[in-house]
């Protein structure tokens, strides 16, 4: 399979089919954890790792997994890697775990992880699947960091916990409500950029 273009896969994951801004998947965690840049970043890293591992595993086992029970199989693979991540972090990254511990287990239910296993890894060889998982994870990470910067700066006047502005310019931004505002504004802005400068058609609609 020499016709696999890794560049396209990476671009696709980060921009063309960005999990949050384009596919509109996994919006609940994206709103929940992006009240600060740091939380968004840590969550993104955890998702990046889990997605890469899940895509790799699903791709390796794609001939073995019976199509009739593929969803339970994927779910079990995802749950395994999430549990492993949780256990390893609890032992070796205590400080991070104290902040992120509650969120790690939620990754099991992220639509984006399951959707990449189904859409890509189950139909492709190992290397492209790993790259796709990593690229989609990067896209998710970038989206969370962007949202985090936007919300933390406006909501708390700080970045990564460091105070930059005096006071809190727009407190609502760190509330869940503000998360939806921020996401809508970002999505709209990115669509505008896409239409204006790249001649695209904008994002698809709908999601979970």
């Amino acid at each position: 399979m020499s016709d696999v273009n890794y560049g396209t896969i990476i671009k696709n994951g980060i921009f063309g089919e960005n999990p949050v801004f384009r596919l509109a998947l996994s919006l609940c965690p994206a709103v929940a954890v992006t009240s600060g840049v740091k939380n968004g970043f840590l969550m993104g890293v955890a998702v990046l790792f889990v997605m890469t591992m899940v895509n790799a595993t699903v791709s390796l086992l794609r001939k073995f997994i019976n199509p009739k029970v593929r969803i339970p199989s994927y779910m079990f693979i995802i749950a395994t890697w999430v549990t492993v991540t949780d256990l390893v972090m609890a032992a070796y990254a205590r400080d991070v775990y104290k902040q992120m511990g509650l969120y790690i287990m939620l990754i099991v239910a992220f639509a984006i992880v399951l959707s990449r296993a189904e859409m890509f890894a189950s139909k492709n060889k190992l290397m492209p699947s790993i790259v796709d998982g990593a690229a989609m994870g990067m896209g998710f990470l970038l989206a969370l960091v962007l949202l985090g910067i936007f919300r933390e700066f406006l909501g708390k006047g700080s970045l990564w916990g460091m105070q930059i502005l005096p006071g809190k310019p727009l407190l609502i931004m760190i509330m869940p409500t503000g998360g939806f505002f921020a996401m809508g504004l970002m999505m709209g802005w990115l669509n505008w950029v896409d239409r204006k400068f790249f001649g695209g058609t904008g994002a698809s609609s709908g999601g979970h």
Binding site: V33, I65, K68, V69, V84
Partner: protein, 197 residues
């Protein structure tokens, strides 16, 4: 029929492999985690009574209304007691909320620390917010009542996290009750009297 066997074999094989991976990971990470958690607990215990010069050792165990055993401690400085400390927990929305409670020698709450919990991020985890946990400071046993309205005298629940708030209040109350029972004799204060069990 043949299909059924195939499906079963394929699923069972994945389940066994997954169980093996998780088991091995648990085997190698749990000792590290155990040591780290023990150390954190000791540090937390020390932080509950920083003015205690003598090492804080367990003075006994008690069991709470949900049947789990907890330890209580006497923190003293040069032989004189400075604080009474107890570990405790409350049954929250989706987990047990483990806490440390310390009392002054006049049996008022001195400090509370939430050790770990598994409550909903964004809702239940607000119990760690200083605005909520700080309410307990200086309160006596009879004041530990959870209200949903604004209050200075009692404890005000977090809106959207009433169950978690109640769990913390009940856990703290159990611990304070125990400490009052163990150490309250002789220091007959108003708070220790007339309290329904």
């Amino acid at each position: 029929m043949k299909d059924m066997i195939k499906i079963t074999v394929s699923l069972v094989a994945i389940f066994i492999a997954a169980a093996l991976i998780m088991g091995v990971t648990y085997k190698y990470t749990s000792p590290v985690r155990f040591v780290a958690e023990k150390k954190e607990k000791e540090e937390a215990l020390k932080a509950m009574a920083p003015d205690a010069t003598d090492p804080i050792v367990p003075s006994g165990t008690w069991s709470s209304s949900h049947g789990k055993p907890y330890e209580y401690y006497l923190a003293s400085s040069a032989g004189k007691p400075v604080a009474y400390i107890s570990s405790t927990a409350g049954k929250g929305y989706s987990s047990f909320i483990a806490m440390l409670v310390s009392l002054d020698t006049d049996l008022k709450i001195r400090d509370i620390k939430v050790l770990h919990h598994g409550e909903t991020p964004g809702l239940g985890d607000q119990i760690e917010d200083p605005n909520f946990i700080g309410q307990f400071k200086g309160k006596g046993l009879s004041q530990l009542i959870l209200l949903k309205t604004e209050t200075k005298e009692n404890i005000q629940a977090i809106s959207g996290a009433t169950i978690s708030s109640r769990a913390v209040t009940n856990g703290v109350k159990d611990a304070v009750q125990t400490l009052v029972d163990k150490y309250g004799a002789g220091i007959k204060t108003a708070t220790a009297q007339g309290v329904a069990k």
